[in-house]
């Protein structure tokens, strides 16, 4: 009885081929060969190769497919950023390096930890403190007060806080420490969401709310309370439509962006036109005009991808997120403890919800809220948070793998 672990080396080779061929193409874009772009492609490919092999070497049971999907999405982002803004692309490559280190660190922590115990209260205070800090001292960028500048370093506290939010949520639903603790936790969630709404960071507020409700349902199985929670969320959304002018504007633009084309609807319309211009197979890398779409390196990078790589490529990207989500769910289902299961489930839900909110906003399925596309959009805080969430998923996958191997060994089999 032998369980053969499937390597993802062949898939990684294709990813590296994608990265290098795209960089090779872009290096000739200005009419002559740009060695810098070619070197960038080689550097990114080497970094991914190194990270993948190190991960497979250090953590025997790491979920390689999840890691490879994460790297492919990152490489799509790197290519697009290289096409749009070289400076941002270099920064993103540095974030990739740092992100891999953080991923390794998170895997080690999750592998060792049982449920973080009382540290959860510290994480609760830290995440709330971060959101409060952004609300009080943050800078307003793109209408949301969610950036904090500390001299040379600037970051989005809500991105860091969301990782803590997931850990705290998994702890409270796994432990079920009585009514007092539940009320305390509910107050924490409510205050976090209120702070995000007050900071006009509606995308993050939606993300926190949605993740809370999904994890609540998974953790308690209480349909009625979940439906009531959804009702409260919907009532809150309707109330904010009437109370917060920013929300009203967003909804009105969503309903008919074309009449606001010259003003607030410009971004949505340009995004839709970019996607339409790309057609099924895109205009070709470097041949489109994604510069016309505002915030094309961050929130609207999906429109830029669809324009130059095509709608079919965009659909493949969405399907890759789907495979990533399914793998996350399988890891959560196989987890040996309730805490681990809810932790992975929460992390997977958060990443999937984040992808849905921004892709849905870009294609005008739902009102647009500013949020990054996981692994693809430019942005250090977002990328590091995503790698932390992947680290959580991988940490539990490693635990599951070690348990399965023990079980197979006891039955006289082996894992190769």
């Amino acid at each position: 009885m032998v369980l053969e672990r499937r390597g993802a080396g062949a898939l990684l080779t294709f990813i590296i081929i994608f990265l290098i061929s795209a960089c090779a193409l872009l290096s000739f874009r200005e009419g002559s060969f740009d060695a810098g772009i070619a070197a960038y492609g080689l550097g990114a490919a080497l970094l991914m190769l190194l990270a993948y092999n190190l991960a497979a070497l250090i953590f025997r049971h790491i979920d390689r497919i999840t890691l490879v999907i994460c790297f492919f999405l990152t490489s799509i982002g790197l290519v697009m950023l290289l096409r749009l803004d070289m400076e941002l692309a270099i920064k993103q490559l540095i974030w990739l390096g740092l992100g891999c280190l953080i991923l390794f660190f998170t895997v080690v922590v999750i592998k060792k930890a049982r449920d973080f115990g009382r540290i959860n209260y510290l994480l609760m205070a830290a995440s709330f403190g971060l959101l409060l800090f952004a609300y009080v001292l943050g800078d307003t960028i793109g209408g949301a007060k969610n950036w904090v500048n500390l001299g040379p370093i600037s970051f989005q506290p809500s991105e860091i806080a969301k990782v803590m939010f997931i850990i705290v949520s998994a702890y409270f639903f796994a432990e079920r420490r009585g009514r007092g603790a539940s009320v305390f936790y509910a107050a924490y969630v409510g205050l976090c969401v209120i702070l995000l709404v007050l900071s006009n960071d509606l995308g993050a507020a939606l993300l926190y709310c949605g993740t809370f409700l999904i994890v609540f349902f998974a953790g308690t199985g209480r349909t009625l309370l979940t439906v009531m929670g959804l009702g409260v969320g919907a009532a809150g959304a309707i109330a904010s439509y009437y109370v917060i002018p920013h929300v009203k504007t967003r909804v009105e633009i969503w309903q008919n962006p074309w009449i606001y084309y010259q003003t607030q609807g410009y971004q949505i319309v340009q995004g839709l036109m970019a996607i339409a211009a790309g057609g099924a197979f895109g205009t070709g890398l470097g041949l489109g005009y994604p510069e016309a779409v505002p915030v094309n390196t961050s929130d609207y990078i999906f429109a830029a991808i669809c324009e130059e790589f095509g709608i079919v490529f965009g659909i493949i990207t969405i399907l890759l997120y789907l495979v990533f989500i399914i793998r996350g769910m399988i890891i959560a289902r196989n987890a040996s403890s309730r805490f681990d299961a809810l932790l992975v489930f929460g992390a997977t839900c958060m990443l999937s919800l984040q992808s849905f909110i921004i892709i849905g906003g870009v294609i005008k399925l739902i009102p647009l809220t500013g949020i990054t596309l996981p692994f693809i959009s430019a942005g250090g805080s977002s990328f590091i948070a995503c790698m932390c969430l992947v680290g959580i998923i991988e940490g539990v996958a490693v635990k599951n793998g070690e348990r399965d191997e023990r079980e197979i060994n006891e039955a006289g089999g082996e894992v190769v």
């Binding site: 898939l11 990813i15 000739f28 492919f72 790589f309 197979i408 006891e410 006289g412 089999g413």
Partner: protein
């Protein structure tokens, strides 16, 4: 040069699509196969009570682990669960099974010799982890799964 770049970019649209499609198919395909295989192997492992490690006997089986289910018949015939192709082993030589009390027992079915740690088994005998069980000239070590 611009024309060459434009032509290359147009052609490479399909290349990028193909690579992404292969990555998607590969990831989905590997995921499905891995899930099925893992489920099967873990299902078998979970229903196993342990294994026999072959210390000496048929050359092609030396060093192998033979998995034990709740009830196993050892012998030379094709009809048994655990086949030892050795002249000293009867067609249906012995049985190893888990009793209702959770303990593992070995018995003798044919005329061939069955011994546990050097003691001959005449009827049925309880066996424990690390016991050396001989079926004719085939020497095995029992590993019982911890519950």
């Amino acid at each position: 040069m611009d024309g060459v770049f434009e032509a290359a970019a147009l052609v490479m649209r399909f290349w990028f699509f193909a690579v992404a499609f292969v990555v998607l198919l590969g990831a989905a395909g590997i995921s499905i196969n891995e899930y099925r295989e893992k489920r099967f192997v873990l299902g078998v492992a979970q229903s196993s009570i342990g294994y026999l490690h072959i210390i000496s006997g048929p050359e092609d089986m030396m060093g192998e682990n033979v998995q034990l289910m709740y009830e196993n018949t050892v012998g030379r015939s094709r009809r048994v669960n655990i086949i030892f192709r050795d002249a000293s082993v009867d067609k249906a030589h012995s049985q190893i099974y888990q009793g209702d009390d959770g303990r593992v027992y070995v018995n003798r079915l044919g005329r061939g010799d069955v011994s546990v740690n050097g003691t001959h088994v005449h009827d049925t005998m309880a066996v424990y982890n690390d016991d050396v069980i001989c079926f004719g000239n085939v020497v095995t070590r029992l590993h019982v799964k911890e519950v």
